[in-house]
Amino acid sequence: MKSKLATLMCGAALAMTGAHAHAADMADSMTIVSWGGAYQKSQINAYAEPYKAMHPDVEVIWDESSNEAVAKLRAMNEAGNITWDLVDVVAADAIRLCDEGLAMEYDPDELLAAGDDGSSASDDFGDLIVSDCFIPQIVYSTTFGYRTDMVGDTPPTDICDVFDLEAYPGKRALEKRPINNMEWALLCDGVAKADVYDVLETEEGQAQALAKLDTIKDQVVWWSAGADTPQLLADGEVVMGSTYNGRLFSLIEEQDQPVAMLWDAQVFDLDGWIIPAGLPEDRLARVKDFVKFATDTQRLADQAKYISYGPARKSSAPLVGQHADLGIDMAPHMPTDPENSKNTFLYNYTWWADYRDDLDAKFQAWLAQ
């Protein structure tokens, strides 16, 4: 009897160590890097909390360093000590990190879950996988908001109203970098949408874009942080300004400011994850497990409850519901909503990867003059 019990207990102990060994293949903690603010909160609510409910022994550490993720990852790589497990970056940074060999290349169909509608991950994300290292998460747009009380009876409906100082006098907030601004300037200077990058490739085209921006240069407040424009709009410092659509959503719906959206010629951009290259196996296994969960159809749709960014999966779109606190329908606030995306502009990643250094030098020199 006694020996039987001992055998049983031995067996149970063995089984337990077996189960334990399986869990020990994955690290018990991971450091996720994101942007902070409402966006990070939406990720915690939609991805991390449910994941922790399933794996209570996993500790998730959040770091709000996405802003300088590229530089920090490079420094970590040079020091040979990568402390991050998963990093949230915009697509352009993901391309840069991939080029530098700092981000891990992955196979979408192996790493990511198939869509709820049965489509494979690579089909579900489609061409939003703009780099071999980039795991798309949301579609956001850079677009304009304007003060409803400062534009008279005819609110702006056209992107070119930004350049119209007579109809809409007052200051405008634009981002302190050439990306988006140069494209909008050309669009409003009579260049067809399809030709924008061809024109911008030439010296004359660049001069043309800067000349168009010159017409409003005195009336521009240049921002560098996404929170600047909402603050400037709320204070009435500017009559209109560009920023990320989620920031404007929270200004309009959550803070109830007299501001409205100008969706015309909004520029779509992507944000997503990258896994740093060179992670030890146990940490990599944990991250892969998390990413598979956090980018499945339901989780991406859940994130839209907290912030007005469009899920990157096609299969998530029908599942987008209502705001978690306000109870309003989120679909009409998505940049991808048909009503909002009548006229959109696609940001050309590969083009900017080439021209970014050159145009930035010209743009900054133009600004400083």
Binding site: G101, D357, A368
Partner: protein, 527 residues
């Protein structure tokens, strides 16, 4: 004792134990010096390891440029024979394309070609995507024709073991130099994949190099070889003349026509040395082009403007700190201790507040819908339509930075003024000096060391300032440090950032030297 006093002229003075006094003094002093060194050693080591070494390492990046010669070593050597001339006809020979083919085949495996692309893209726009695209296309070139033709000649060419045996035989490197060189790349590629060399069929670039070697070698040289695979080589050597040749140049042009552009090759050549002056040239609005050093196009010149602006605004900030800080420090040092302590806390209070909070507070005060403008409009001094623009320009930067740096001026001034005895001024007055003369001739000269110390502190702190100009500087109030930060964190052009930083450091040291010559560093006192 008696020896030393009685025979002063017979030799060196000796100490009690007979050694010359000079020597024993030296020993005693050396011991003292060593003890002093041992006492400072922990701090010295700490400063060296955690401060000097990282800074030196960062500054070294301003000239370091090994990435080109490390990523495409064969191409760099092959390009030595080629001279840049403007125009497409001047693109290099097929040998260079062959070297690039092998280099990129290896770089693609290690993913270093894209890093090279981002490095060269700082110099010539388009290099980034050119190399990314070429990396993708390099495995799909038509060079598999060579592989097929060799295999058709003798199926043993497919056998990796045959290759390994042949490439290990002595003498093979002499008759097949390019193949041997490419074979080393192949070894590294296989090792990186954790595969076994004897089980992997070589990739097309090995066969391509074999073809090139056999074409280039006279038949006698191949016939003289007797190592492993000699027979196969001789058969192949007599057959290669009949092989269908693939122009590597055409293959590269198929991937991207830019490979025919002499400008691209010129850039690679200009930046092929392991050390470059390119970053320093860029930081003074010059550029290293294939044709030599040129001025940047006017619409890209920015750094000299920013250096000048940084110096000028730092001077203005330093000046306004002196103007505002001197009376306060004077007041503080002449009040009774209890009152002056209270006032000193008021000076220090903002010092203890977060920099960001203070900068944001200035935003609230200075903006067009801000407190100051509201008051001015309410008083009727300015119209509602033309509120003053006091932020996002130089004015805003100067105001905010003067406020932030003011304690650094007041504190040294105060501590120096505290040590000036009031009796001197009283004595001057009793000898008939007016208030002004007593101050200007007696008091002020004694407070100059405080001004010197405060000025150096404020000036050096302000030329390195970055957050405040970024937040309130707009476009006309930004400093050179904002561009350095941009290159560190966004463009990843650390070489340029290091060069800009080195120049800034050199300018500070130079100004410090000038200051020392004019004012004298002995005249600086922190109290």
């Amino acid at each position: 004792m008696t020896d030393a006093t009685n025979s002063p002229s017979t030799g060196p003075m000796l100490s009690a134990d007979g050694t010359p006094l000079k020597k024993s003094l030296q020993i005693a002093l050396r011991r003292q010096k060593l003890r002093a060194l041992a006492l400072v050693a922990p701090l010295l080591l700490f400063v060296l390891i955690s401060f000097i070494a990282p800074i030196a390492d960062m500054l070294f990046r301003s000239v370091e440029n090994e990435i080109v010669s490390e990523t495409i070593p064969r191409t760099v050597i092959a390009l030595e024979q080629w001279d840049y001339e403007d125009g497409n006809a001047a693109a290099p020979s097929d040998d260079v394309y062959a070297a690039l083919y092998v280099d990129l085949s290896e770089a693609e495996e290690f993913k270093t070609h894209t890093r090279l692309g981002s490095r060269l893209n700082y110099e010539t726009t388009g290099m980034s995507s050119l190399l990314r695209k070429t990396g993708r296309g390099i495995g799909r070139m038509d060079t598999d024709e060579y592989t097929k033709q060799f295999e058709a000649l003798d199926p043993k060419w497919e056998d990796p073991a045959v290759w390994v045996a042949m490439m290990q035989s002595p003498g093979v490197a002499e008759i097949l130099p390019e193949t041997a060189s490419a074979w080393q790349s192949w070894q590294r590629i296989v090792a990186n994949k954790n595969d076994v060399l004897a089980e992997e069929q070589p990739e097309d670039f090995i066969y391509t190099m074999l073809y090139r070697d056999l074409i280039a070698q006279p038949a006698s040289a191949v016939a003289a070889y007797s190592g492993s695979g000699a027979e196969m080589l001789q058969t192949a050597d007599s057959a290669v003349d009949g092989f269908e040749a693939i122009s590597l140049r055409e293959q590269f042009l198929d991937i991207d026509e830019d490979w025919a552009d002499a400008q691209i090759w010129g850039t690679i050549k200009a930046f092929s040395s392991p050390y470059t002056a390119g970053y320093f040239l860029s930081s003074v609005d010059l550029q290293l082009t294939p044709a030599g050093v040129e001025a940047q196009p006017e619409n890209q010149q920015i750094y000299m403007l920013l250096f000048g602006r940084t110096m000028f605004m730092s001077m203005v900030i330093m000046g306004s700190c002196i103007l505002l800080g001197y009376p306060i420090a004077y007041l503080l040092s002449n009040l009774p201790l209890r009152t002056s302590n209270l006032l000193l806390i008021l000076v220090l209070l903002p010092f203890w507040t977060s920099l960001l909070v203070r900068t944001s507070a200035w935003k609230v005060l200075l903006q067009q819908q801000g407190v100051i403008n509201d008051i001015l409009v309410w008083l009727g001094l300015v119209g509602d339509g033309d509120r003053l623009v006091m932020i996002n320009n130089q004015f805003g930067t100067i105001v905010a930075m003067t406020h932030i740096l003011l304690p650094f001026m007041i504190l040294p001034l105060y501590s120096v003024m505290k040590t000036i005895p009031p009796s001197y001024v009283r004595a001057a007055k009793s000898l008939g000096a007016t208030n002004w003369t007593a101050f200007w001739r007696v008091y002020f000269p004694q407070s100059v060391p405080g001004i010197g110390a405060g000025s150096i502190l404020v000036f050096i702190l302000s030329i390195g300032y970055y957050i405040t100009p970024e937040l309130v500087g707009g476009t006309t109030g930004t400093f050179i440090s904002n561009r350095i930060a941009y290159h560190i964190s966004s463009s990843l052009n650390w070489g340029l950032a290091a060069a800009l930083g080195t120049i800034l450091l050199a300018v500070v040291l130079l100004l410090y030297w000038v200051y020392d010559r004019i004012v004298g560093i002995d005249n600086v006192s922190l109290g």
